[in-house]
């Protein structure tokens, strides 16, 4: 078992945890958090792909690394957007839930994130 495979398995497990949190956690903020965990697990798997393709005296293939850097920044932008949606939902309805059965949430401004 080399370091690359080890962190690859770690990434796979993190994807599993993140998905579980995304499905079972009711609070939107916790869902966003879980989604970020899932994303970083995917990035870690990508890092393993890069590490494995090490050649020409480099520690890893620079192309996947550059893609992961781009992805981290884009994930941050998406997180900022999602949090702004949740906060607007709170502002409009006074609650922070996606539960459609809740009474009082009749406002049209329901986030579907």
């Amino acid at each position: 078992m080399n370091a690359a495979n080890l962190f690859g398995l770690c990434g796979a497990a993190l994807v599993g945890f993140g998905l579980y949190g995304l499905v079972t956690n009711p609070e939107p903020l916790r869902k966003i958090l879980a989604f970020n965990l899932l994303g970083s697990g995917v990035f870690l798997v990508f890092g393993v792909v890069s590490r494995r393709a090490a050649a020409s005296g480099l520690g890893g293939d620079p192309v996947p690394q550059a893609m992961v850097i781009t992805a981290i920044v884009v994930a941050f932008a998406a997180t900022a957007m999602a949090i702004a949606l949740v906060l607007r939902l709170l502002q409009e309805t006074g609650r922070s839930t996606l539960n459609a059965d809740n009474p009082g949430g009749t406002n049209t401004d329901r986030g579907n994130s």
Binding site: M1, A3, A4, N5, G8, L9, A12, A13, V15, F17, G18, Y20, V23, T24, P26, E27, L29, R30, I32, L33, A34, L37, S40, V45, G47, V48, R51, R52, A53, A54, S56, G59, G60, D61, P62, V63, Q65, A66, V68, I69, T70, V73, V74, F76, A77, A78, T79, A80, M81, I83, A84, V86, L87, R88, L90, R95, S96, T97, N99, N102
Partner: protein, 313 residues
Amino acid sequence: MTILSVFDIGLAVLILGIGVWTIAAREAFAAVIGFVVYGLLLSIAWVRLSAVDVALTEAAIGGGMTGMLMLGAVARLRLAKGNDTRASLPVRLAAGVLCALVAAGLATAILSPPEAIPTLAPMVMENLAQSGLGNPVAGVLFVYRALDTLLEKVVLILALLGVWSLAPDSVWGGIPGLRLYAQRSSTLTFLAQLLPPLGIVVAIYMCWVGAKEPGGAFQGGTVLAAMWLLVMIAGLRSVPSIDQRWLRLLLVVGPVIFLAIGIAGMVLATAFLAYPAGYAKPLIVAVEFALTLSIGVALGLLAAGPPERVQRP
């Protein structure tokens, strides 16, 4: 079993443990703290995967900026306790099985690598000398995949427009609702006076060293954004309203210069986003400096959130 593999196993177990804590913690505040710790630990894992550029980005964005963004949201959501019920046990069990299956599938894919591992590293290294850069990742970002990098800046600006457009009509063009520190605390003021000058030096260093060694516009820009936020949180500088012209100018200056050089490449060089022979490095460094500024402003404003009040006369 070498010392090295013991270190790696310990790190992986710690990361997984913090990941579980982030999902399972009862309080949202504790979960976000777990996430910040997770981001900082993950950057050590990236170092172990020989991806120092990614480690820098993860420490800056995964640890610092995302944590700050989420903590702001936690503080607001404390006021509104949603009456969410946790998923029932059968649902949780089914979800657990599903997620275990997904993770197992991924793990199988990782443990069975292709026979001939595809790599672009030799191609990158072959052509890197022409660009005058020493950092292969910067080479990929600014030479071979320059279009991706350009579009990513556009995505940042689009996301910012999306965040801004969530503001109610009455406060459009107003001041972002960044949560300030309640009492003017002299300790925080001192930190906000001490850290930003150091941070600006670090940002310039990151940007400059990015051409040769790990670093670059993303990392430098994130440091700038963090320092700007720190100064605003401490109340040393007021939060600018989003209709300020200088603010919008700074936001677009990086992408515009990048685009202009790209279009000039169609005339002076061979294609869109191609650099004229011999001028690649100075042009890339110029683009990186402009982008650092734009990324810093964009990330800072994304973290500050949509406008919430208008300038009082």
